[in-house]
Amino acid sequence: MSHVQEYKCPRCGGAVAFDSGTQKLKCPYCGTEFDIEALESYENDTDSGQTDDMNWETSAGGQWQAGEAEGLCTFVCKSCGGEIVGDENTAATSCPFCGNPVVMTGQFSGALKPDYIIPFKLDKKAAKAALQKHYGGKRLLPPIFRDQNHIDEIKGVYVPFWLFDADAEVSVHYKATSVQNWSDSNYNYTETSYFSVSRSGVIGFEQVPVDGSTKMPDDLMESIEPFRFDDAVEFKAAHLAGYLADKYDVDAAQSTERANTRIKRSAEEAFASTVKGYTSVTPETSIVKLYGGSAKYALLPVWLLNTTWNGEIFTFAMNGQTGKLVGDLPVDRGAARKWTIGITVLCGAVVYGLAWLLHLAGAL
């Protein structure tokens, strides 16, 4: 039995047929005409049947040398169960995540040794100053929060991150339109041209970070990005002196999903930026394949600041390398209501006045 090639109309999905009069393919349903070569190429491009392939080599982290972790000890939070690592001289008394007391459980053991560490570049004072700056210029921050605010505790914590490196092979198809307008004495014309656009190529990513600790909220950690890997050094236990370290509890393999999502999105955005000169561009299919994907285990510096207000804990995090501080603040509902009413009245009056002026000028 011979195979009959059937082409579908890109406009309405109907089966197109060859029109001997125009020597073109024509859709009998919507009447659109196509060049044979264009439709053939379009079918081949959109019907490749390929899917994403995003696999990683996730054997990150190393083994501790004998005696290397001797000076480290583990603290466990009695409330949230968080396990923190510190050197034996660190007097950790409260959990950096929930503020409850912690107890020392003794010698550190288990877990992988980090490959890299970015040492703290900014100190506690800088974190306090950044918080005061964070409060500034926010009209809906309750004044009483700002005035009464005292930081319960500031802790420098090394947070475990998986850093992913990979090259991505990207193939994206878009449907694009180009609109032209013109008019004669009686009519306005709009010509819409439809294009099938495809882009293929490669793009490389390095050190895409994924939070490896469930105790650290992922959104908080992603908010203080980026970390610059230039300052990273090979991990030495001595770096932990005076600071706390969190142990990873999400392994590299589990973290790849988040890295994949972000890499795919960025790859698509980067290739979409090369599609220019159209009125609209809609992605139809995108295939991302990763090559040489590998992960590294690194500890990154974060200052954590906790404050309690009205029985609620507010956590702020500052990037210990760049000084970027984030943290949600409470909303003064009374002030928000006053601002809403005030702006409504003022703007309403201005609009009404303008409407009168336009009316008198004959425009309304």
Binding site: D45, N188, S196, S223, S266, A355
Partner: protein
């Protein structure tokens, strides 16, 4: 003999008062049967009739521009505009060779008014001006207060001619301003509220700084992006055509009456 002379002079005087256009240039012939007020239905009292007649005559003579009123009962299925044009033509109204004048036709049965203009009347009575007069007369016509409506026509018509002679005919830009629609009392605070929501929303967003990153754009290796294949394939095109909106124009529109004379005018219901 003296009596005859007196009668003759009186006749000349009356003639010059009632149809001065004809007396002046002699064009069109004498039309004493066609008074400037023709109330065949009898909507006016006798006093009103003579008062309006005098008013129309005086204004017409003064301005050298005929202002006439014709009242009929039914239009017999014809359009009020046609009837008004024909009344103007058959009445031989209009000053000078251009037949400068305007005629108001009222049909009491069809509850319709129409104004036919000719010559300089086309310039002086713009479409907007005609509709403005109709608007001014409507309440009086509807209430059966015809005399007042005709006074309005004579007064307003006279004013239009004066304004036109001063070089600025009454047009849409002269229409009195109506008060701003009450809908703005609702729209204005609504717009204010939307602005307030946007502004206060952005103030609230300032307080929220914790959010996930959607992409990893900051971690692209420098110079690593390389587009190896780039294809832009034209598939098909469509052309949509929409009719242009016609501009609303000012000025006067004209048409030709059954006798071939060019008239301006407009009509309405009451």
């Amino acid at each position: 003999m003296k009596k005859i002379w007196t009668f003759f002079l009186l006749l000349v005087f009356c003639f010059s008062i009632s149809v001065p256009a004809l007396a002046e240039d002699g064009a069109g012939g004498f039309a004493d049967a066609h008074y400037r007020l023709q109330d065949s239905v009898g909507v006016l009292t006798e006093e009103e009739n003579s008062e309006i007649q005098n008013l129309l005559d005086e204004t017409s003579v003064q301005l050298q521009f005929d202002l006439a009123v014709v009242v009929v009962d039914t239009l017999d299925g014809r359009s009020a505009q046609e009837w008004a044009d024909d009344s103007f033509d058959s009445g031989q109204f209009g000053y000078g060779s251009n037949k400068d004048g305007a005629l108001l036709l009222i049909s009491t049965v069809d509850r319709t008014w129409a104004i036919s203009t000719c010559g300089y009347g086309i310039t002086a009575f713009t479409d907007a001006g005609i509709q403005y007069i109709g608007e001014q007369m409507r309440d009086d016509l509807a209430a059966g207060n015809y005399a007042e409506a005709f006074r309005t026509f004579a007064r307003q018509g006279g004013q239009f001619v004066t304004m036109a002679r001063e070089g600025r005919p009454f047009d849409s830009s002269d229409l009195p301003k109506k008060p701003l629609s009450w809908i703005w009392l609702i729209i204005s605070p609504a717009i204010g509220f939307v602005v307030a929501i946007i502004v206060v929303g952005s103030m609230k967003r300032q307080l929220r700084t914790v959010r996930r990153q959607a992409a990893a754009g900051g971690y692209v290796r420098e110079g690593s992006m390389n587009v190896t294949e780039s294809k832009d394939l034209f598939l098909y095109h469509t052309i949509d055509r929409t009719e242009k909106a016609k501009n609303t124009s000012s000025g006067s529109s004209t048409h030709t009456s059954s006798s071939g004379t060019t008239h301006g005018g407009g009509s309405g219901k009451f």
